[in-house]
Amino acid sequence: MIFPVEPLLDLQGLEKSFGGTRVLKGISLSVGQGEFLTLLGPSGCGKTTTLRIIAGFETADQGRVFLSGKDITQVPPYRRDIHTVFQHYALFPHYNVFDNVAFGLRLRKMNEGEIRDRVLSSLDLVRLRELEGRRPGQLSGGQMQRVALARALAGRPPLLLLDEPLGALDLKLRKEMQLELKHIQRRLGISFIYVTHDQEEAMTMSDRVAVFNAGRIEQLGAPQDIYENPETAFVADFIGAANILSAEVLSSVGDFLKIKIEGSVETEVPKQNGWGGAQGAVQLALRPERVVVSADRGQAPESGWLHIKGALAETVYLGNSRQVILRATGREKNIVSSMSAEAFASLGAEVSGAALAKFRIKDLVLLKNPEKEA
């Protein structure tokens, strides 16, 4: 993304090791004004460490942090204009809700009337004004979460950091809070950096997602972009599910490439979407919802489609959909298909033996070879 003006936050080449383990291996990232950016990845990928470096709780071994163009790499957390919503809320147990929210404001030597207005408007934002006198111990998880948000927002920071803030809530409440967080962020125009390992959460809320893996950013882009065009096998697999197929580029013929998939199926693909320079062994990603399983009656593929032969291994009932797992002939990994209930019903009981996985050639996504470790 190109910023017409200076980015709000700019990370340049952050590196960090803990006891000889390299946790961050060069993180560079910019966050725009009013942007909702999610750091997504499995545990231990470095997303939380990155957030803690932005907050100032950790100092990077290498690299710089800029906020509104100012180098804040060495600035302590209490002098940074950034507030954090902590994973376990971290509400002060010896203060009531009002005093928790007022904590940061009182340090700024504002007068009590002004503080009162600010605190109440922050509590209004999370719809908890009536609980101002309660102690954190008397609140439910969802209420604590809202108070933590109100406390972090009370000082109107330009940038808010959220460290898996919904992790401890149950599914229904989590969904509600996702939407609410997004609305509050839009309304206030504050930039959010949101850490989560839940890819669905990342998809729902973010303007952009940075997918972390083993201390690096694997891919950075809009949720749809990352889902439709994953660049690496890790991203394809982590965001939604994916079948990763191995293939070999045989030759280049005009506007087409001739490839051989899984050592058996040969086909031609148009040279576009980054297929141009591909050669040798490559990997392809295929989304399960783009795969249809049907009985193998020896039929030839329709134009633009490919078939992989195998046998039906298992089906898993998922309520609104059905996961169908096909054991492909001569291949170690299974092919997974996600079918709607109707499509599965029309398949009927006829698939008991030989079966086919059918998919469109255009649904194959070419993956960049994963970067080798430095």
Binding site: P76, F86, A90, P93
Partner: protein, 294 residues
């Protein structure tokens, strides 16, 4: 037969039978009954008896001993004891808080070593440590030798047998009772609270005042009770490091039993002291229960 024993043992340690639990608690119950409850009962009975000639005891119930406890004669001793024990608790707090803070936030991998070092005087006989203080503080002791020898002082300081030496001894002995509860309450504060405070703009000192200190108050209170209360009954320290002007309740009681041979009055003094301690411990328990509930 071994089979039956095996079965009995299995039943005993199953953790399910109420009868088994009674059997397991029996030895300790007998111990406590015979060596704690019965003596205290005897003490209470004794406190109601009268003193006859030559230290004999006349079993004729009276409240005279308790009336004597509250006569003006003993007010200075009670006041002195409360003052010394209060001073001891406050000094322990002033010395102990920074130590506990250091242990919790700075000691790092050395923490266990420091904790063990802290416990060593605790495991040493009280007499040994008291005599060590006599060796250090005496007129020809280590401190005076160094001060006079180096020319810092013209003549040796008489610190032994003063309130100073008694309170020093008490602080020395009761300091671990302050540090350990303080340390445990500081340890219990989640680091996230401290980070949240920094995050909201509070510097290190503001964070200490507004977050760490208030959250460690249960430890301060516990430490205060755990030093103040046992200090009330201390007599060894005042006996060896003090003099006639540092006479405490503990010494008064000791003298009734060993010198004056007035056991009934000694028993009454002990009963009153015990009551005062129990009230203190009751509030300590209540506070601890409240902390657990929070």
């Amino acid at each position: 037969m071994p089979h039956k024993i095996k079965k009995f043992l299995a039943w005993l340690f199953s953790g399910k039978s109420e009868k088994a639990s009674h059997i397991l608690i029996l030895p300790a119950s007998f111990w406590l009954a015979f060596f704690l409850v019965v003596p205290i009962m005897l003490l209470l009975v004794l406190s109601l008896a009268q003193l006859g000639p030559y230290g004999t005891i006349i079993w004729h119930p009276t409240l005279e001993n308790f009336r004597r406890v509250f006569t003006p004669l003993y007010v200075p001793i009670v006041a002195r004891t409360v003052a010394y024990c209060g001073a001891t608790a406050v000094l322990c707090l002033l010395l102990g808080y920074p130590t506990a803070y250091f242990l919790s936030f700075y000691a790092g991998e050395w923490r266990d070593t420091f904790l063990i070092l802290l416990m060593i005087p605790f495991w040493t006989s009280a007499l040994v440590s008291i005599y060590s203080w006599i060796i250090i503080l005496g007129r020809d002791g280590l401190m005076n030798s160094v001060l006079v020898g180096s020319g810092a002082l013209g003549k040796p300081l008489d610190v032994l047998n003063t309130p100073f030496s008694v309170i020093l001894g008490l602080v020395y002995f009761y300091l671990p009772f302050m540090i350990l509860p303080l340390y445990s309450s500081l340890e219990k504060i989640p680091k996230q609270y401290i980070e949240a405070s920094y995050d909201l703009g509070a510097g290190a000192f503001q964070t200490f005042l507004k977050v760490t200190l208030p959250l460690s108050l249960p430890g301060v209170f516990a430490g205060f009770i755990l030093t103040f209360v046992p200090c009330l009954g201390d007599f060894l320290t005042a006996e060896f490091l003090g003099g006639p002007r540092t006479y405490l309740i503990g010494n008064l009681i000791e003298n009734q039993f060993l010198m004056a041979q007035d056991w009934p009055f000694g028993a009454a003094l002990t009963a009153v002291l015990l009551c005062a301690m129990l009230i203190g411990l009751y509030y300590y328990q209540k506070l601890e229960a409240a902390e657990l509930a929070a």
